[in-house]
């Protein structure tokens, strides 16, 4: 069995999760604070990929990043970046597609923390950033872990978006889910079975791991 699609999938899921951690956490925190109209709009956009057919999202990304016009052309001419049929494109699409899985659990965890926790920290002279890092973040650990694992697992399972924007280029955009489809098309059921089994096993272990962790984790008094 050619393992490249598996490695590519894990790499894609890993990078996507890291990118979403880096800007998803502050974004979730910002969204968890006082509501405003603009936040409702942003939240709606973030949540859209949950219900939108992946092919629709993939189609718009394909149009937006086509190197022949608009943003795609500009990115290509100025930065020599091409998001269509490239690994970078897969990362971008996955970040958008998996965003709700990172943002919403973390956002609701922040919202469930009593307001007095940050207030207490402020009266001790601590800045918002110190409060975020030393008080808020450590107290949402279980939700954060769930968000990380769900984001990773969800990216493993991507198909439609990846196929639309990345196609099926071996070693570049051909991730495991595409390899399954491709193998079936070529009547190579053995390969399809192998790829499927690996994806199934990884996903199962991840999800069961989170369940076990959250069950045995000492319950925080806030929950």
């Amino acid at each position: 069995m050619d393992l490249t699609p598996i490695w590519l999938t894990l790499k894609l899921a890993g990078i996507t999760t890291l990118v979403l951690l880096a800007f998803g956490l502050p974004l979730a925190w910002w969204l968890s604070k006082k509501r405003s109209f603009i936040k409702i709009i942003i939240e709606a956009i973030i949540t859209m990929p949950l219900v939108l057919p992946p092919s629709v999202l993939g189609f718009y990304l394909l149009l937006a990043f086509s190197p022949r016009h608009g943003i795609g052309k500009w990115l290509h001419d100025v930065f020599n970046l091409q998001f269509v049929f490239s690994f970078e494109g897969l990362v971008l699409a996955s970040v958008i597609y998996s965003m709700p899985f990172m943002i919403s659990p973390v956002k609701s965890a922040f919202q469930q923390l009593p307001a007095s926790l940050s207030q207490a920290s402020y009266t001790l002279g601590k800045s918002e950033w110190q409060t975020f890092r030393q008080v808020l973040l450590p107290n949402i650990k279980p939700s954060l872990l769930t968000a990380i694992v769900l984001t990773f697992a969800h990216t493993l399972g991507e198909f439609g978006v990846v196929l639309m924007i990345g196609g099926n280029i071996p070693g570049v955009t051909r991730v495991a889910s595409i390899a399954v489809y491709d193998s079936v098309e070529q009547m190579d059921y053995t390969s399809a079975n192998n790829y499927s089994l690996v994806l199934f096993a990884i996903t199962f272990i991840l999800v069961i791991g989170v369940f076990i962790y959250n069950k045995y984790q000492v319950k925080s008094p806030l929950e």
């Binding site: 009593p114 007095s116 926790l117 207030q119 207490a120 920290s121 402020y122 009266t123 001790l124 002279g125 601590k126 800045s127 030393q134 008080v135 450590p138 107290n139 000492v218 925080s220 008094p221 806030l222």
Partner: protein, 205 residues
């Protein structure tokens, strides 16, 4: 001198009620704020701390204007740095007793003294969930004192303490407040609490 003259609209069960407070507290000592539930005592403390913004008025503490709606002045809670004891304690679930105090101050001698006053020396490695209600409440008071505040705002700070513990803690607090040259404003729904201890008195509502 702590001079407060503020008003704030509060959402109440039946429409809107307006909380109006005009009072001057002498510096030093413990003052008592009483009044029935839901009248806005907690809101008043939070407005003094800068956690809630009044609709109008002025708060001046020791000749420094903390809030003035006319001049558009409003210092942040970080600039005001009052010692604040929250009614729900607001302890950090991720931190041990020791870490709570270290988060507030770097002064180890002071931390040890506070631990002694709060009788928590043997619980330094415990997190809040492994402390009794009374211990949690004492930790909340110690954490507020850790920053050596000039103004100590306490919201029902003795509600979970037994009579003996309360008596000892109050007399320790009295001497600490004297030492720090601080003023304490204490919210209590129990009119007898702090009898003979408090100086200024404010009844809200």
């Amino acid at each position: 001198m702590i001079s407060i003259d503020i008003e704030k609209k509060l959402k109440a069960y039946k429409g809107v009620q307006v909380l109006r407070v005009k009072k001057e507290f002498a510096t030093g000592g413990i003052a008592r704020i009483t009044g029935p539930s839901g009248v806005g005592k907690t809101t008043l403390l939070k407005m003094i701390a800068g956690l809630i913004t009044p609709d109008a008025g002025r708060i001046v503490v020791d000749d420094i204007t903390w809030f003035d709606s006319a001049q558009n002045i409003s210092l942040s809670p970080q600039q005001r740095m009052p010692g604040f004891v929250f009614q729900d304690y607001a302890l950090f679930p991720n931190m041990t007793v020791q870490q709570h105090l270290e988060y507030a101050t770097k002064d180890t001698a002071w931390i040890n003294r506070l631990l002694n006053i709060g009788k928590l020396e043997t619980f330094t490695t415990h997190k809040p969930e492994h402390l009794s209600g009374g211990q949690q409440q004492r930790l909340a008071i110690l954490r507020a004192l850790a920053i050596k505040p000039k103004l100590l705002l306490m919201d029902e700070p003795f509600s979970a303490l037994d009579v003996k513990m309360k008596g000892e803690l109050i007399s320790d607090l009295q001497s600490l407040i004297k030492e720090l040259k601080a003023t304490a404003l204490t919210v209590s729904h129990n009119p007898q609490e702090l009898d003979g201890v408090s100086g200024d008195e404010l009844e809200v509502g």
